[in-house]
């Protein structure tokens, strides 16, 4: 940071408000995630993340429709690729976590995994370059779907009373229960959906911010305000942008996997006899 301050401090203070024309170095902030509406449909201003979400969903649906609309017993071409994805979700997530009963929930988990992964991938696709899931609304709705599902599954499996009883671990000393019951309910019913959504959101948010920080550093110190001292910082920015983009590719897939894994473990937990 001192190197940045040193190089930037020698420059005259700029009055520009836009990030890319400002003369002083401005680290990217929340402004990266606030989009002006591109156009309006009725009372709704359609922003870039919304357009991306619709486009990526359409892409995903078309891809799997092409792959599975006329399934062959011996898969060929694109069906092979789609089946690898399907088998991954079914064997590594559904059957592994929930067990044999997990096959019922494969369609949900499969959709969750691929929607989240594609939404995340938009972060590194040129032109799009914005992870849809870094707007909190998208992970919040996905987490809400999972929440409703596992509560519904639990109530159907054990009945209303049985479901709420199953949240409490049994066989503890009686004196501990006044302490355990509020903690378990708060953790399962309130904190769980919240962290489920925030985990995905914050990872994508932080990742996008990091890439943007290094990219803007590179742009500022090499193109906008090239100085002898600052050039090295700019080169670090270029290298780190590439490194962080590669790292983000890993994190995107991992977060989609974790989100789906947790969804499966919540559903599996609701199906179990007791915790």
């Amino acid at each position: 940071m001192t190197a940045i301050a040193l190089a930037a401090g020698a420059l005259p203070a700029g009055t520009g408000t836009r990030m890319l024309v400002a003369e002083e170095f401005h680290a990217p902030g929340l402004g990266l995630f606030q989009w002006e509406p591109l156009f309006d449909i009725g009372p709704i201003g359609v922003t870039k993340p919304m357009v991306l979400a619709v486009f990526l969903s359409a892409l995903l649906i078309i891809f799997f429709w092409v792959a599975f609309h006329r399934p062959q017993l011996v898969p060929r071409g694109v069906q092979n690729l789609a089946e690898i994805g399907y088998l991954f979700v079914r064997d590594d997530i559904a059957r592994n976590i929930i067990g044999k009963r997990g096959d019922r929930y494969v369609p949900l988990l499969f959709s969750l995994f691929f929607f989240i992964w594609f939404f995340n991938l938009a972060s590194v696709i040129p032109i799009a370059q914005f992870p849809v899931t870094s707007r909190f609304g998208y992970p919040a709705v996905l987490a809400a779907i999972v929440y409703v599902t596992w509560v519904g599954v639990g109530i159907r499996a054990h009945g209303l009373g049985g479901f709420f009883k199953a949240q409490i671990p049994s066989g503890l000393p009686k004196a501990i229960y006044p302490l355990v019951i509020p903690i378990e309910y708060a953790s399962n019913m309130i904190v769980r959906p919240f962290t489920h959504a925030v985990r995905l959101f914050a990872n994508m948010f932080a990742g996008h911010l990091l890439i943007a920080l290094f990219a803007i550093t590179a742009w500022h110190f090499i193109v906008e305000q090239p100085t002898v001292l600052g050039f090295g910082v700019g080169v670090v920015g270029v290298v780190m942008t590439a490194v962080m983009t590669a790292f983000e590719l890993l994190i995107q897939a991992l977060q989609a996997f974790i989100f789906t894994l947790l969804a499966a473990s919540y559903i599996g937990g609701a199906l179990e006899e007791s915790h």
């Binding site: 929340l30 590594d92 592994n96 976590i97 962290t195 925030v198 985990r199 959101f201 914050a202 990872n203 948010f205 932080a206 996997f257 974790i258 894994l261 947790l262 473990s265």
Partner: protein, 75 residues
């Protein structure tokens, strides 16, 4: 009341640094224990790795909540 000591600058960053200590230790324990378990019983790799990732996700959530808070409440 007169101010005896003051911290200025990006307090949110300092707060996040503090918030990351706990999850950092937690994630270290999760993966350390996981690798140890895999070394002792390589055939249980899938089971251990799955639970490792789950534990990692739970510990990581705390750090991420810490990351979001400075943005929510301003610097």
């Amino acid at each position: 009341m007169s101010v005896l000591a003051q911290v200025t600058g990006s307090i949110g960053s300092v707060g996040y640094g503090l918030a990351a200590i706990g999850p950092g230790i937690g994630i270290g324990i999760v993966f350390g224990m996981g690798v140890q378990a895999i070394a002792r019983q390589p055939e249980a790799y899938n089971l251990i790795f799955r639970n490792m990732i789950l534990g990692f996700a739970f510990a990581e959530a705390l750090a991420l909540i810490g990351l979001v808070m400075p943005f929510v409440y301003g610097t």
